[in-house]
């Protein structure tokens, strides 16, 4: 029986707490994701997707409810502990790639390992392996502005994998790419899922991409309106 990676119970997120404008965005979500699942979260803009992603990604704390990630209760921990959890347990992939400018692909991939305190030689070795995994070896010395969008995203995925995180959290990873390169990026996610058994959370507003995954959670107005398991969801 595989273990549970994401365990969310009654997650509430409010803004402007204590002011007349107090605004509840998430209304008590319950989500449980087992290890190795490729799950997509869909919803129109304003549905609370991003807010949920921030909480899942340990960038933000919920107002109420309970969240544990890979067995660690992250309900009430310090900022620095949150940093450490982001560093070791979560691999972010952003819509706009967010590679560090003027820093080579290799150095970008090394960055999370640098913050984890890995020695330089080991870091470089692992970064090279990861770039090979996303077929970017020959571009490892290139600066982000010398890479195409698809290439940037592949480097970003390699970077997300750096500390072998419990989950990969991808926020509209194909949103800034044309359909062909978007396809390529999705294939890499599928590969990571299949070959390495990675738990992947894909946030998207594209229903077609969501249909490729194991499970689709649909958000609307801060509540889960559907949570479907898909048979053989992974398309090749």
């Amino acid at each position: 029986m595989s273990k549970t990676i994401i365990e969310m119970k009654g997650i509430v997120k409010s803004f402007y707490i204590g002011t007349p404008n107090e605004l509840e965005i998430l209304h008590g979500l319950n989500i449980s994701v087992p290890e190795g699942q490729f799950v997509s979260i869909v919803g129109a803009s304003g549905s609370g997707k991003s807010t949920l992603m921030n909480i899942v990604g340990a960038l933000d704390r919920q107002t109420a409810g309970h969240y544990s990630l890979d067995g660690i209760d992250i309900t009430k921990i310090s900022d620095n502990e949150l940093s450490s959890i982001r560093n070791k347990k979560i691999g972010f992939v952003f819509q706009t790639f967010n590679l560090i400018a003027r820093t080579s692909a290799l150095k970008n991939v090394e960055l999370p390992m640098l913050y984890a305190g890995m020695p330089s030689r080991e870091r470089t070795k692992r970064a090279r392996e990861l770039l090979e995994l996303v077929e970017m070896t020959e571009r490892s010395g290139h600066m982000p502005n010398e890479l195409s969008g698809g290439q940037k995203q592949r480097v970003a995925i390699a970077r997300a994998m750096a500390n072998d995180p419990a989950i990969i959290l991808a926020d509209e990873p194909t949103g800034a790419l044309d359909s062909k390169t978007g396809r390529l990026v999705m294939d890499i996610f599928h590969k990571l899922h299949k070959e390495q058994g990675k738990t992947i959370v894909l946030i998207t507003h594209n229903p077609e991409l969501a249909e490729e995954t194991d499970r689709v959670i649909t958000l609307s107005d801060g509540s889960i309106v559907s949570d479907r398991m898909l048979k053989g969801g992974a398309a090749e």
Binding site: D60, N80, R86, K88, N98, Y115
Partner: protein
Amino acid sequence: MNLFENIKMAFASLKSNKMRAVLTMLGIIIGISSIIMITTLGNILRKSLTDTLNSQGGSKLVAFQISLKPEYVRDYYMTEDLITEDMIENVAERFAEDIEEIVISGGYESGKVRYRREDLDVYINGVNPGYIARTSDEIIAGRYINDSDLARGANVCVISEKQAKKLYGGVKEAIGQRFSAKFLGQNHEFTVIGVYETKMTALMSAMNSLNTTAEDWDTEVYVPYRALTKIYGGSEEAFFAYYAIVNDGVDPTSFCEEVQSYMNNRWYRDNDSIMIRYMTGESEMAMMDQVMGIVSMVIAIIAGISLIVGGIGVMNIMLVSVTERTREIGVRKALGAPNSAIRSQFIIESIIICLIGGFIGIILGILLGNIAGVVIGTVAPPSTGAMVLAVSFSMAIGIFFGYYPANRAAKLDPIEALRYE
């Protein structure tokens, strides 16, 4: 996240904005270089002044002069207050073991020498035979004024090499010639008995180079002081001051103390306003140090202001940099950078700006100081203390003015930062 990585990152970031980095450093560069320049210059001046003083008796040269008593009742001198020849002779005998030479200059007149169609400036210096010891002069032909010249008040003179060449066509040719100078409204004639050459120290030649006529002309002409007294129409000699050069191994200060109290007890006890005070080469040096100290202080204040302004510039640019890189900071935080890592990244960047500025400032300061030194003619190393101080000060500026922007970066909310366009 180690220091080395931070330093590499800081350099990468500075390299991407070279112009801005240099402009930011400018304030630090100016501040540090002026501190280093003034200390280097101070060392140079000190060294060349020491050289010059040493060539003219140095720390062995001491002076005794009349000055006001603390409880004086009049603030002017009278003839009876002056130091007489007898007093000097008495001291010379009493302290014969300690004294190498007594140096007297009794009268100094500016005059003109006719050369072809122009009048050349000369200064007629009435001296005793010992006087040459307190100058940088050497006799290259003939002889210096001797005791018999002085005793007779002979109308003889010692002129410079340049004067000899110009007026008589050569050094040897000058000996025995008549030297005519107009001063005190009349022409006076002297027989040239010797020619001197000034052994210039670096400082002296520098000072001389400011004087355009010095190229082929010296102004100083030496005559026995009694020759001047005769011209003045007086009979008795009296002086405001005289010098002594002490023997090797004699402590100038304790010698001066003894002579001062001897003279005061013997001749000035009953004087209501005037006493003898001494000055040593060391006290001249101390005075010079005091002046340099004041100059240094003023420059240090200006440099300090420049450094503060420079530091504010650094802070300003770091704030801009933090704003510009908000998104990068967000990404770094998402990737797991703790606040401390972000903070140290920016502080180190700020320290590095200041340190590079500091180093450039040190090099520039040494360079400028030594360019001035070349003009003066002496090159001296900068003071190590000033360099250490400059480096630590620029580092402190980096930390002080970098902390606020760095802390602001560290405290950014990762979500806001990631969303920042």
